[in-house]
């Protein structure tokens, strides 16, 4: 794929991250200002009750997977650009592309599996 297309996707992924990671940061770290914003049990945002409650909400399951994919793409493509600035030869360049693609796909598969099979999600789906 042409680099221009990959760069456009990089910016688009950044916009997606801005929205969903902004929401994630608000829920997890600005819970002093917004105590019950998607923390239905109050208290610590990372307490098991709050985590399980969010897992039962399809919105969070879907957005975790979207954010996972966008963040992996944005981060690993950014890392690739930094590494390619050192002007590696064609062989090393191909190795960087393959290694980062495999790493990204593997982490996406793992993270998506976690998001889809966590206890709250499974019980909601009757598992």
């Amino acid at each position: 794929m042409r680099d221009r297309t990959l760069w456009t996707w990089h910016i688009f992924a950044g916009a997606v991250i801005l929205v969903f990671l902004g929401l994630h940061m608000t829920i997890m770290h600005l819970n002093g200002t917004f105590p019950t914003f998607n923390n239905p049990f109050g208290g610590e945002a990372e307490s098991w009750q709050n985590v399980a409650a969010r897992a039962r909400n399809l919105f969070f399951t879907v957005t975790y997977v979207v954010m996972l994919g966008a963040a992996l793409y944005h981060g690993l493509f950014g890392l690739r650009n930094i590494l390619l600035e050192l002007d590696p030869g064609a062989g090393l360049r191909r190795s960087i592309n393959v290694a980062l693609s495999v790493l990204g796909l593997a982490l996406f598969a793992f993270g998506a599996w976690v998001a889809a099979t966590a206890p709250g999600v499974v019980s909601r789906m009757g598992g």
């Binding site: 801005l18 600005l30 819970n31 002093g32 200002t33 981060g75 890392l79 930094i82 982490l107 599996w113």
Partner: protein, 144 residues
């Protein structure tokens, strides 16, 4: 982007050194440092938070392993890095799309630079990042 047309002859020094370039060049360096920091944290975060797939006990064990003042300070750095990287990223996207750089003009000596046109946006986004970092810090250390 691919760099074959303009190789980075300075190597790693070229990644971080701003040289005689201005404020925005240092924002570029900080954008890069925060990006690499956020990526490192994110890759670890995927594994730590995967504990929830094994249930309440595994989740609470994982969370207790990453608690304490050092982790809290580290998490705050991640929050502040996100605040900077996000608003500076918006600035970069706006400039790439041609906003806030002024209209194109003929290159007549003495040449005008667009840096002066971009500077207010750079200052504005840094103020926003600063407000977010302070707001987050207050939540982290005084309300949590």
């Amino acid at each position: 982007m691919e760099s074959h047309a303009h190789p980075n002859r300075l190597g790693i020094r070229g990644w971080v050194g701003g040289g005689r370039w201005g404020f925005e060049r240092y924002l570029y360096t900080l954008h890069r440092i925060t990006g690499l920091g956020l990526l490192t944290y994110f890759l670890l975060h995927i594994f730590v938070t995967s504990a929830r797939v094994f249930g309440k006990g595994a989740w609470e064990t994982a969370m207790s392993a990453v608690s304490g003042p050092a982790f809290k300070a580290g998490e705050y750095l991640v929050f502040a890095a996100f605040a900077f990287h996000a608003v500076n990223g918006v600035r970069l996207a706006l400039i790439e799309l041609g906003f806030a750089v002024g209209r194109p003009i003929e290159p007549i000596y003495p040449y005008a630079t667009s840096v002066g046109r971009q500077r207010p946006l750079a200052i504005a986004v840094m103020l926003i990042a600063g407000v977010l970092a302070v707001w987050g810090g207050y939540n982290f250390f005084f309300m949590d």
